[in-house]
């Protein structure tokens, strides 16, 4: 097991990503943050909170579950979905999709399909904490990246959050 980001480094990365988001959006009146269930929401909770602290703007913040949009519904076990909670219209908004680890890109493909069923956003951006380089199976690239790592398929990247796992850190498991 190798530590990719310790608590201190993770905190710096979160601050940087939040600032990059503010730099790009300036005004969040037509933006919305949407975290991906289940693990992405710990990350999106933090980003939404930091952005709010800095700008004191109330950004619409939703959570999206993509279970029903997966392309592997019948290749593995049937999964019980998590809750989707988007209580605002995404119509013509600038949506920032947030997930913790970008790997094959299939989750994001499913997330975009799921998102479009809620309306037509003006544009969609992608923020990930960890981008697993060279492992993409679909042409999907993030707009905001915490850290890029080179991994092989048998390795796992696990992002731990204090609220859920007791500690803030990112580890690579062989």
């Amino acid at each position: 097991m190798k530590t990719l980001l310790d608590t201190h480094q993770l905190n710096i990365t979160l601050q940087r990503l939040a600032h990059q988001l503010i730099e790009n959006h300036l005004d969040f009146s037509a933006s919305a943050i949407i975290g991906l269930q289940p693990r992405g929401i710990w990350f999106s909770n933090r980003i939404a909170q930091i952005v709010k602290e800095i700008t004191s703007e109330n950004i619409p913040y939703g959570k999206l579950d993509i279970t029903f949009y997966r392309d592997d519904v019948h290749t593995g076990d049937i999964l019980v979905p998590s809750h989707t909670d988007i209580n605002f219209s995404i119509e013509d908004r600038r949506v920032i999709l947030i997930d913790d680890v970008l790997h094959t890109g299939r989750t994001i493909r499913a997330a975009m399909d799921a998102l479009i069923d809620f309306g037509r956003p003006r544009n969609v951006e992608l923020m990930v904490l960890i981008d697993r380089h060279y492992s993409r199976e679909l042409p999907i690239q993030p707009d905001y990246v915490g850290q890029t790592v080179d991994t092989i398929i048998t390795q796992k990247v696990k992002v731990n959050w204090k609220e859920n796992d007791g500690i803030d850190e990112v580890v690579l498991i062989d």
Binding site: Q37, F68, H74, D77, I78, V80, H103, F118
Partner: protein
């Protein structure tokens, strides 16, 4: 998508034949999944692409309006392809057997069968002989599992955890598959159940299922948090079990003044179709206490959940 952090589903069954065969965990998994589908049904686009690769045959050997529509809508909301079959006007009237009929339909590459049949036990018989997943949409006077699930789901939406809640099932218990499935489901969820109605419509030894029997409907209403009132099924009563409908309505029918006399608000449910003025008066059926239309709405979400959760277990039919 190498990571599957969602909780893995494991319904303990391959088919939904009866509530009797489910465990409490199964029921809770179905409810949790139904929550999500209920939310899907409130979106501008009320469907998901999940079952694009699945074909479902709705085979109804007995009349049905709402169950059939509810299943069909649930299947369409999941993007499954559907085939509808009813026994009238089919080769069943030429004497084809159940297995032949179903195997012929399955030969056209169908993944799942939703079946209603007038013979109790028919889905169990079918499950022994075919590979596809089977959902029982009502068999004779035995079980109607999706109905019991939607009833319990609708109750828990209003009351929270059903543990210790008091449910009265009132009316034609003898001929009701809704009653039997409800009893199994509610007991598994920890609720207390009383059945009430005329002695001729309550089966002997029903206490062995862990329910109490009450012949005085007013006392049952006084006791309960929820009254699930059943339809008098005249089509199944081959000998007279009470003298007239008017007499039934007088002694066992529920009207506004009875409810007002209770000095508490109980929930009123009915599986439909209602015999208005017999088991239930319009002033009750259309009142604020009635959650009959919630039951219908939840029926689609519950059936979507059941179909989705069973869809992974279908063996490929060659």
């Amino acid at each position: 998508m190498n990571f599957k952090f969602s909780i893995r589903m494991s319904l303990s069954v391959k088919h939904l034949l009866g509530i009797k065969e489910l465990n409490t965990q199964d029921i809770e998994t179905i409810f949790r999944t139904a929550d999500n589908f209920k939310q899907v049904l409130q979106r501008p686009i009320k469907k998901v692409p999940t079952l694009r690769d699945t074909t479902i045959a709705d085979i109804f050997f007995e009349n049905s309006t709402r169950t059939r529509i509810s299943f069909e809508l649930a299947e369409k909301r999941l993007s499954a392809d559907t085939i509808n079959f009813s026994s009238s006007g089919s080769s069943v009237s030429k004497g084809e057997t159940l297995i032949d009929t179903v195997n012929n339909i399955l030969a056209m590459k169908v993944d799942m069968v939703v079946m209603r049949h007038s013979a109790s036990g028919a889905p169990w018989f079918l499950a022994k002989h075919i590979n596809a997943s089977i959902i029982n949409a009502g068999d004779g006077t035995n079980e109607h599992p999706t109905h019991a699930l939607l009833d319990a789901y609708s109750m828990s939406e209003k009351l929270g955890d059903l543990k210790g809640k008091r449910i009265a099932i009132i009316g034609d218990i003898m001929h009701s598959r809704v009653a039997l499935s409800n009893i199994f489901c509610l007991k598994k969820l920890g609720a207390e159940v009383t059945v009430a109605g005329p002695p001729t419509l309550i089966p002997k030894h029903i206490e062995s299922l862990g329910v109490t029997v009450q012949y005085d409907v007013k006392k049952a209403l006084q006791w309960c948090d929820v009254a699930n009132i059943l339809r008098i099924q005249l089509e199944r009563q081959h000998k007279p079990l009470f003298s007239t409908l008017r007499e039934y309505a007088l002694f066992y029918g529920i009207n506004k003044s009875i409810l007002e006399g209770l000095q508490k608000d109980i929930l009123i449910m009915h599986p439909g179709p209602i015999n208005r003025g017999v088991e239930l008066n319009s002033d009750v059926a259309d009142s604020k206490q009635s959650i009959i239309l919630d039951q219908v709405e939840n029926g689609v979400a519950i059936r979507m959940a059941v179909i989705y959760l069973l869809s992974g277990k279908a063996d490929v039919v060659e």
